[in-house]
């Protein structure tokens, strides 16, 4: 359980151009600096946006990581819903499951 490290990596990717350059040059080397479980690193690498949501990554971080990985807004929202369907309710962090009835 290293949600903190997952979020820290995404925080730096969002904020720091140098980290983003390293992501583009050698993502694997960058990932090694953030100790994560196998499930977490797979979710970051693929990416599995839905699983990252279920693992508890804050949406204010995740929505920018999804955009960086090429997800348009509606696809990002759908990826989270799909994540909950596949992996079950959010496990940690700010969100318990909050329903999913809205469709925007």
């Amino acid at each position: 359980m290293s949600l903190y490290q997952v979020q820290k990596l995404i925080y730096r990717l969002n904020r720091d151009p140098h980290t983003r350059q390293r992501y583009e040059d050698d993502f694997e080397a960058l990932l090694e600096e953030y100790p994560m479980t196998a499930e977490e690193s797979r979710a970051v690498r693929e990416p599995d946006i839905g699983l990252l949501y279920v693992l508890g990554v804050n949406g204010q971080l995740l929505m920018h990581y999804a955009a960086l990985r090429g997800y348009p807004w509606n696809d990002y929202l759908e990826a989270m819903r799909e994540g909950v369907r596949r992996h079950g309710p959010v496990r940690a962090g700010l969100y318990a499951m909050v329903g999913g009835e809205a469709d925007r």
Binding site: R15, Q60, L62, H64, M80, R81, A102, R104
Partner: protein, 272 residues
């Protein structure tokens, strides 16, 4: 000299970034409300704009999370997000480090605020500035309340922070305009993005307009989370403004729940 203007408004990134999803007339009404606020701030002839925001992991992270922070620089930049995503071009925004330093020193008499000499504005500040100081020609003093990474500061402390900001504004010779920016009920960046609890919002705005201290401070985070989502924690920014303007009443100039913007879009003012 004093607080010459106090207000509150929404800052949802969809307001600019997904503007094309909302009908022209509805968007025009929101823009007109922001424009009314821009003119009111201009008419108050402020020397600086104090923005009490609720940022979203742009500058502050769980390695060292301040409950309250005030910027202390002669300039800032924003947006930190992809400018295309937010539809706001990247810009330099003037600050006033000397004014910040004096405000911070005064606030510290009552609230243990931290300070930051470096601050990249995210949508929480850039969206309001885009409408309220579109030429970025008014020095900004950014302030932040942690509304994202629990444990959060209690709402009664957000009120105390507002009171301390008022004390600070009254203690400096400059004329200060203040806005709080946050959402009321909303579930941003979650599968429930677009859900809005209009009845809860209207009840909150009634309390804000009445500047009813006890009613504003009666919200528990458990209730807020259930009724208004994790985004509802940002009511702290409204409560700080109410605290700063305590004794005066407010007026809701605009409220429109717009699911595509994932928030009840609000423009409100407090008499000062």
């Amino acid at each position: 000299m004093s607080l010459v203007f106090a207000g509150a408004c929404s800052h949802a990134p969809g307001i600019t970034g997904r503007a094309d999803r909302v009908g022209r007339d509805r968007l025009a009404r929101l823009h007109a409300a922001f424009e009314r606020m821009r003119r009111a701030i201009e008419a108050a002839e402020p020397d600086a704009l104090l923005v009490v925001g609720a940022e979203h992991f742009a500058n502050f992270f769980m390695d060292n999370m301040p409950a309250y922070c005030i910027g202390m620089a002669d300039g800032y930049e924003g947006p930190i997000e992809d400018p295309d995503w937010l539809a706001i071009p990247r810009a330099a925004i003037p600050g006033d480090a000397d004014l910040s330093r004096r405000l911070i020193a005064e606030v510290l008499e009552e609230v243990d605020v931290s300070y930051a000499e470096e601050w990249k504005f995210d949508h929480g500040i850039m969206v309001p500035l885009h409408f309220l100081t579109p030429a970025y020609d008014l020095p900004v003093v950014p302030a932040n309340i942690n509304c994202q990474g629990p444990p959060l500061t209690p709402v009664h402390r957000a009120w105390a922070f507002g009171r301390a900001l008022r004390r600070a504004c009254d203690a400096v010779p400059e004329r200060i305009a203040m806005i709080g920016t946050g959402g009321i009920s909303h579930w941003p960046a979650t599968p429930d993005s677009g859900k809005i609890n209009e009845a809860w919002d209207r009840a909150f705005l009634d309390r804000f307009a009445a500047n009813d201290r006890d009613a504003l401070l009666s919200y528990s985070d458990t209730d807020t989370y259930r009724e208004a989502g994790q985004g509802g924690f940002e009511i702290r920014t409204f409560i700080a403004v109410a605290g700063a303007a305590y004794g005066a009443r407010g007026e809701i100039w605009h409220y429109d729940p717009i699911p595509d913007f994932a928030v009840g879009c609000t423009v409100a003012v407090m008499a000062t």
